[in-house]
């Protein structure tokens, strides 16, 4: 019955002859490991087709959804990190396999007559694979892909005459946007794989026509593809997959938690990205273009003409190889080319290793990537405007950058400029306080420490050093009762309502009450100069007359206080005429949003993924007592 059915099928399709010709291809001189590269490439491409289809089923190409959908695949969907990891690393494995395949073909002279056409088909396949890599790099729409691909499409501009039009067609407009993604995706998942399949079929067909160019001398008796060579091919494919899986799970071995391909922060044309580099296999070209010979208008030579010439020489190899000397030339040329590529790649890596600003940019990029992942993971999800707004509106991310740009010329944050760089004190001396923990008990304790008060971290600036506050702290504070002073510090600090002290402020309500009473009773002479709320007795008002040029202690360090202060520190509620700080809001140096980001960052008021809900009050805490 079964045989009758198969006979019928064979009669109608001739499948037996086809399977037979596929499996029983003659391998002259026996199976060898050096023949496996072609098969591993077919395997790698098959894996890309499979994983690519499944990624496609979850990917959404538009500038507000590309990063977001990849984020969802990577971090929310079961198996997503593995799937994306296989696609990502198999693409890189393919480049290496291509080089190995080409090496074997050229060294063994397998490109010579009658196999010239097949060699050319192979070169076409090489270019398609490079095209697939280039287009795929952009699709996650993260900072890395965005900026690296921008460089690639700008290289198109160097092509004479048609360059600008070509670039506009590829980008889908003057600027990167929705159509850049739809076009790159159409190329990556549509045209290029279709071309690839067509040329692979042609490649294998022509290969079968001429058979294997066996390596002399024959080591063994002839054999068949099935099963000797197929077993070697299968083992090689298994090894390739094992390497890819290792690369995916490698971070786990080194104790990191992320698995698979990296996903950077979402693309943002307004955010500097000095960590932009092409994928490693294009690094040589990147390094090549740094050469002075290709400066300015001559860029086209390095970016288009020379790579074009190299490709031309490769295409001519089968013709040059007709002569014995020609074959030698080809082999030498190939090795020279590869050596050049390796040297350029190493130089690119070495140069970046030595650049501290590049290393800082990479660290920052990883930090942003990690942060946006946490923000996107919040129950509130990603807004319809896209994940890029998550980072733009995040105090934790923007605060340090704004601090560096607008505050660090005078202030410090924990000794650095906000982003972790310690400025050279001779070039950029610290002339104003260190704002790490501003308003906190710790910070205020330092302020009231006679030894610290006139240090650069507090009131060490020339004008302040001789001011009333420093005198007060140095002369009078040492005489105060320690416990009372602590209560006053707790009370002033409670005004800030810092998220980090929410807990403490609750537990110490009684101490804070005591501190407030001390302040208001004017035993401790803060209200002689500073404004503080309380029963506005005649005595108190009179004492506070001097308060026009001193910061108001009402809500000191709280969000509204800090917003008003940054808006105009010269307001009579703050430093008045004595002010030396820029009025960031009043003078329109910064918009309200940026001021709020700085204030929130200084106050430590940002989303903390490790602390999703405010901590429950401890059992000993008074539940009803309130400071005010």
């Amino acid at each position: 019955m079964r045989k009758a059915l198969l006979d019928w099928l064979d009669d109608r399709t001739g499948y037996r002859a086809m399977v037979h010709s596929m499996l029983f291809e003659n391998i002259p001189g026996g199976s060898r490991w050096r023949y496996v590269w072609g098969s591993t490439l077919v395997f790698a491409f098959t894996v890309q087709l499979i994983t690519g289809f499944f990624l496609w089923a979850s990917y959404s190409p538009s500038s507000q959804t590309a990063w977001e959908s990849v984020y969802f695949i990577q971090y929310q969907m079961a198996g997503g990190a593995l799937l994306r990891g296989i696609h990502h690393f198999m693409a890189q494995a393919m480049i290496i396999l291509l080089v190995l395949h080409m090496l074997q073909i050229i060294i063994d002279g397998a490109y010579r007559a009658p196999r010239e056409v097949n060699f050319w088909i192979g070169l076409i396949l090489l270019n398609i694979v490079l095209g697939l890599s280039l287009t795929g790099y952009l699709l996650p729409w993260d900072q890395k892909g965005y900026w690296a691909t921008k460089v690639a499409t700008n290289i198109m501009l160097t092509v004479p005459i048609i360059g600008p039009s070509l670039q506009r067609i590829v980008v889908g407009g003057a600027e990167y946007g929705h159509h850049t993604l739809t076009r790159f995706f159409a190329l990556h998942a549509g045209l290029l794989p279709a071309l690839m399949m067509f040329f692979i079929v042609a490649h294998v067909y022509v290969f079968r026509r001429h058979g294997i160019k066996f390596k002399e001398p024959k080591r063994a008796a002839d054999t068949h593809f099935w099963v000797d060579q197929l077993l070697k091919d299968a083992v090689a494919c298994l090894a390739v997959l094992a390497v890819v899986l290792f690369l995916i799970y490698r971070p786990l071995i080194f104790g990191q938690h992320h698995v698979g391909a990296e996903l950077g922060a979402p693309a943002d044309p307004s955010e500097a990205y000095s960590a932009a580099r092409p994928e490693w296999y294009f690094l040589f070209l990147y390094q090549f273009l740094k050469l002075q010979s290709f400066a300015g208008e001559r860029e086209v030579i390095g970016a288009v003409v020379i790579p074009g010439l190299v490709m031309l020489i490769l295409f001519l190899m089968p013709i040059v190889g007709r002569w014995k000397l020609g074959h030698r030339f080809n082999v030498v040329f190939l090795f020279a080319l590869l050596t050049g590529v390796v040297i350029l790649t190493f130089r690119a890596v070495a140069e970046d290793r030595g650049k501290s600003d590049y290393q800082a940019a990479v660290t920052q990029a990883h930090k942003d990537a990690e942060r946006v992942k946490d923000l996107a993971n919040r129950p509130t999800g990603i807004p319809a405007t896209g994940a890029v707004s998550l980072l733009r509106e995040d105090a934790y991310t923007q605060g340090p950058k704004l601090f560096k740009a607008h505050c660090a010329s005078c202030h410090r944050y924990d000794g650095h400029d906000g982003v972790g760089f310690k400025p050279d004190p001779t070039k950029q001396p610290q002339t104003a306080s260190d704002l790490k923990g501003f308003g906190s008990r710790q910070w205020l304790t330092g302020l009231f420490d006679p030894k610290q008060v006139d240090s650069p971290n507090y009131l060490g600036a020339p004008k302040l050093k001789t001011g009333k506050m420093v005198k007060f702290v140095k002369r009078e504070v040492p005489d105060y009762d320690k416990n009372e002073m602590q209560a006053v510090i707790a009370a002033v600090s409670a005004e800030a309502q810092l998220p980090s002290q929410r807990h403490q402020d609750q537990t110490d309500a009684a101490i804070i009450k005591k501190g407030r009473d001390l302040l208001l009773a004017a035993d401790i002479r803060c209200v002689d100069c500073h404004q503080f709320p309380g029963p506005q007795s005649a005595e108190n008002t009179a004492r506070s007359k001097d308060s026009a040029n001193t910061p108001d202690l009402t809500g000191y360090g709280s969000r509204p206080w800090l917003l008003a202060f940054l808006h105009d520190p010269g307001h009579e509620r703050f430093y008045g005429k004595k002010n030396e700080m820029p009025a960031f809001g009043a003078k329109k140096i910064l918009d309200e949003k940026s001021i709020a980001l700085i204030a929130d960052w200084l106050r430590g008021d940002w989303y903390d993924p490790n602390q999703t809900a405010p901590p429950p009050p401890p059992a000993t805490a008074p539940t009803t007592t309130q400071a005010r």
Binding site: H20, V47, S58, S69, Q76, G80, L238, L241
Partner: protein, 183 residues
């Protein structure tokens, strides 16, 4: 040509060949199955996600609902999660509300047959524009319809009704079956 070069093989070679075949097929299966399995897991991810819990959602004020014992359509507004996005206050569906004095009943507007939006007729009964299923004013099925069940009645919050707000436990149910299975 291939046939000509085959050598007559002794039984030991046969056994070795068999082992090679098993190994080759196994390795071949592994390398194709792993990537395919990774993809399939991702593709099947939606099956793993729980259906949303149905909460009472405010639909309208009681005063905005005519006391005429006839169905009136109202949009239901709620936060909608769509994969990675959370859209606040979106129209996520609609209900027919019918008021008789202090009593309010709600049915989902979706036909349980294949999911079309049913129309309310002048006499208060419902008719599906797609396959002509008809339903009574209370949503029950009129004989001769193709729909497997009556319109899905939705729970109205009696507590908030007393304070003049109509809240409905909004839910969609699987079409095409006589059972009410929440989706």
């Amino acid at each position: 040509m291939a046939e000509a070069t085959t050598h007559p093989s002794p039984p030991e070679d046969e056994r070795r060949n068999f082992l090679k075949k098993v190994l080759a097929v196994t390795a071949g299966l592994i390398v194709v199955l792993i990537p395919s399995a990774a993809g399939l897991i991702v593709l099947l991810d939606p099956l793993r996600r729980k259906t949303n819990k149905a909460d009472f959602l405010p639909v309208t004020n009681l005063d905005a609902l005519p006391d005429d014992d006839l169905p009136h359509p109202f949009q239901v507004v709620a936060d909608r999660r769509d994969a990675w996005n959370l859209y606040p206050a979106q129209r996520i569906g609609a209900v027919y509300l019918r008021r008789n004095k202090d009593k309010v009943t709600a049915v989902n507007v979706v036909c349980p047959h294949l999911g079309c939006f049913v129309d309310a007729t002048a006499d208060g009964s419902f008719k599906c524009p797609c396959h002509n299923s008809t339903f009574q004013k209370d949503g029950s099925l009129i004989a001769g319809s193709v729909s497997p069940r009556g319109l899905d009645e939705l729970e109205v919050d009696q507590q908030s009704l007393k304070s003049g707000i109509v809240k409905v436990r909004f839910q969609n149910f699987q079409a095409g079956t006589h059972l009410r299975i929440p989706v």
